[in-house]
């Protein structure tokens, strides 16, 4: 036996009650679950008092680029995520002709906020085909990767500049079908497309120029392999989303494929959105269609600076008008004591400082202001004998308007609504966007957030139910047949954690991108060990290990 995990509380992914016992692994596969395993193994882990669960599967990420220099998808792995699905939202790094690379980089930068340095010199761009990209990943992976092929790049390959000008003709449709077939043969787990995204010039991405006939033609190829279609619908418009649900259902039924759309949000501004969409999903599921809405566990935070006119200021016309001033005029206005008094009176009428009290300082450029990072404006104001609005302005001016602030929990933030939503049998927990938006907020630790808030605090789930949602259910939805369960014969992807402590840590700035580029991360709490294909990949004691046991997995 290569590995024995002893005395663990085995939560096997089926949703059935946990039980105490050992788990044995040989040659990257689980060979024994439960009971006492006699003898010794090459490695033994004592998991007494800990949960032993299947590795978590994250179905919506954008780790496509990061995996080329960080095959462990840090810090997702330390949160217990052993399989990631990159290539969402119509964007993947293959298939892509060399001449189209700048256009894809622009799209990644606009939609996923990937910095230039992530593409310039951080890896050798050696491939054009999908199998070439997978070859480039070989030997680097510390997590499993189930990659989607992006509709936008398939379109770009076949149509060139016309991909963002018009619908495809019959010949081009056939060429796209052939290209998708090559991707699926190479190992793509499905196709992603988007109805909402724009490129760096704010023009629609190529997939948005497709007529329904094109998506239908590509879905027919997915049907040959029974693989996934992922879609970004017009999620901000309920009626259009309902139409997309119907459209996906038709494709699912016609081609016998699973489909998923992301994101589905709850918002105070559209309180009936989730109810209506889930009702339509239920109706279509009852017909036998597979249309899985992806819902994220974490609330939505908003970050802003004084450099641009964030709509957070739109509720206070004086502030909004000020933020829209040219830079120098804005600085002059904010430095004018009388003008500033007017703004403060507008934001904090009658001395009510609630509006900005909970806003936190996220980042500063002045070294002496670094101790302010992570603290609320109310705390800082109390120290300074000021008010939150005044200290926000002072910090901005001191940092040449480049100080960044965070207003947390502004949307998708009512636990009493989100808990039951996540637990809904037709909701697919996902939409983490791992590896994207890296300079705006951290997209890691959604699983820890799930256990902390919706298992421990609110009990919307049992422990077993939550594990099932992010392991076996995810694997089944995506057609991944050898992962997601602790069962003899399954791949040995295993996460060991303390059920009383698992959580996400506070958000922090990290400078671990190429050329010391900054991103926001959250580290894990309560995770003890993460095992990928039988190899210990991360542990709370030793951190990341030099294991390259990740694989490309598909349906």
């Amino acid at each position: 036996m290569d590995l024995i995990i002893r005395n663990g509380r085995l939560v096997d992914g089926t949703g059935l009650p946990a039980f105490l016992g050992d788990l044995g692994v040989r040659d990257g596969r689980i060979v024994h679950v439960g009971g006492r395993i006699p003898g010794r193994a090459t490695r033994e882990i004592d998991a007494a008092g800990r949960v032993v669960a299947p590795g978590f599967i994250d179905p919506h990420t954008h780790f496509d680029v990061q995996l080329l220099w960080d095959g462990q998808a840090r810090p997702a792995l330390e949160h217990g995520v052993t399989t990631v699905v990159p290539g969402n939202c119509s964007l993947s790094l293959a298939p892509l002709k060399a001449e189209h690379r700048p256009r894809l980089v622009g799209m990644f930068q606009q939609i996923e906020e990937m910095p230039d340095a992530a593409f310039d010199g951080a890896f050798d761009w050696t491939w054009e085909s999908f199998d070439g990209y997978l070859d480039a990943l070989k030997g680097k992976l510390g997590v499993n990767v189930a990659p989607l092929a992006g509709h936008s790049v398939i379109r770009l390959w076949v149509m060139g500049d016309a991909a963002t000008e018009r619908a495809a003709n019959a010949e081009e449709l056939t060429a796209m079908q052939d290209l998708l077939r090559q991707c699926l043969e190479a190992g793509a787990i499905g196709l992603s497309t988007s109805f909402v995204d724009v490129d760096e010039k704010l023009q629609p991405v190529p997939s948005r120029y497709a007529h329904f006939e094109e998506i239908d033609a590509l879905a027919s190829v997915l049907g040959e392999y029974g693989r996934m279609l992922q879609v970004v619908p017009e999620f901000y418009a309920t009626d259009v989303t309902l139409a997309r649900v119907d459209q996906l259902a038709e494709l699912s039924l016609k081609h016998q494929i699973p489909t998923t759309f992301s994101p589905l949000f709850d918002s105070a501004a559209t309180p009936d959105n989730v109810t209506r969409v889930l009702a339509r999903v239920s109706e279509q599921m009852a017909r036998g269609a597979r249309v899985w809405p992806q819902v994220q566990t974490r609330p939505i935070d908003i970050s802003f600076t004084f450099e641009v006119a964030s709509l957070l200021f739109a509720g206070t016309p004086g502030w909004y008008r000020t933020m829209r001033l040219p830079r120098e005029e804005k600085i002059a206005a904010l430095n004018n004591a009388e003008y500033l008094d007017g703004l403060v009176n507008e934001a904090e009428p009658g001395g009510n400082t609630a509006r900005y009290a909970a806003v936190k300082v996220r980042a500063v450029i002045r070294r002496e202001d670094e101790p302010l990072v992570g603290r609320s404006l109310a705390e800082i104001a109390a120290e300074r004998g000021s008010t939150p609005a005044r200290v926000m302005v002072a910090i901005s001016l001191a940092n040449d308007l480049q100080a960044s602030f965070l207003a947390a929990n502004l949307g998708h933030n009512d636990p009493a609504r989100i808990g039951p939503l996540l637990a809904h049998p037709m909701v697919h927990i996902g939409a983490s966007d791992g590896g994207a938006h890296i300079q705006s907020f951290a997209t890691y630790g959604d699983t820890g957030y799930l256990f902390r808030h919706f298992v421990r605090d609110r009990q919307d789930f049992t422990l077993e139910g939550a594990v099932k949602k992010i392991t076996a259910d995810t694997a089944r939805i995506w057609g991944i047949t050898d992962r997601g369960l602790l069962q003899a014969g399954m791949a040995a992807d295993i996460t060991i954690f303390d059920p009383d402590a698992i959580d996400r840590a506070e958000e922090e700035a990290a400078f671990d991108m190429p050329e010391q580029g900054m991103r926001y991360v959250r580290h894990a709490r309560g995770i003890e060990a993460v095992i990928v294909n039988g190899e210990l990949a991360w542990s709370s004691g030793a951190g990341y290990r030099d294991a390259h046991s990740g694989r490309v997995v598909n349906a």
């Binding site: 704010l202 901000y236 418009a237 939505i300 908003i302 509720g315 829209r324 705006s440």
Partner: protein, 74 residues
């Protein structure tokens, strides 16, 4: 049939971590629908409508919105 108008506009959290403007339109036949604008689009809507207050967007013509949606990068 009466022209569609903006019924209300509220600031909402966007998928990408920035604030967005959710505009509710009321159509002549009584139906309604939502359109979401990013910060740039919202600023253009304020300008096109000639208003500075969020609540003053209510009652404005849908045609302003259509100009923004037709020419997103303008």
């Amino acid at each position: 049939m009466a022209e569609a108008t903006i019924e209300r506009a509220v600031v909402t959290p966007g998928h990408d971590g920035s604030a967005e403007l959710l505009v509710t339109l009321r159509y002549g036949n009584g139906g309604s629908g939502h359109v979401s604008l990013d910060a740039d689009g919202a600023a253009r809507l304020f300008d096109l409508c000639g208003v500075t207050r969020l609540e003053d967007l209510a009652g404005q013509s849908w045609r302003h919105l259509m100009r923004i949606l037709d020419q997103p990068g303008e």
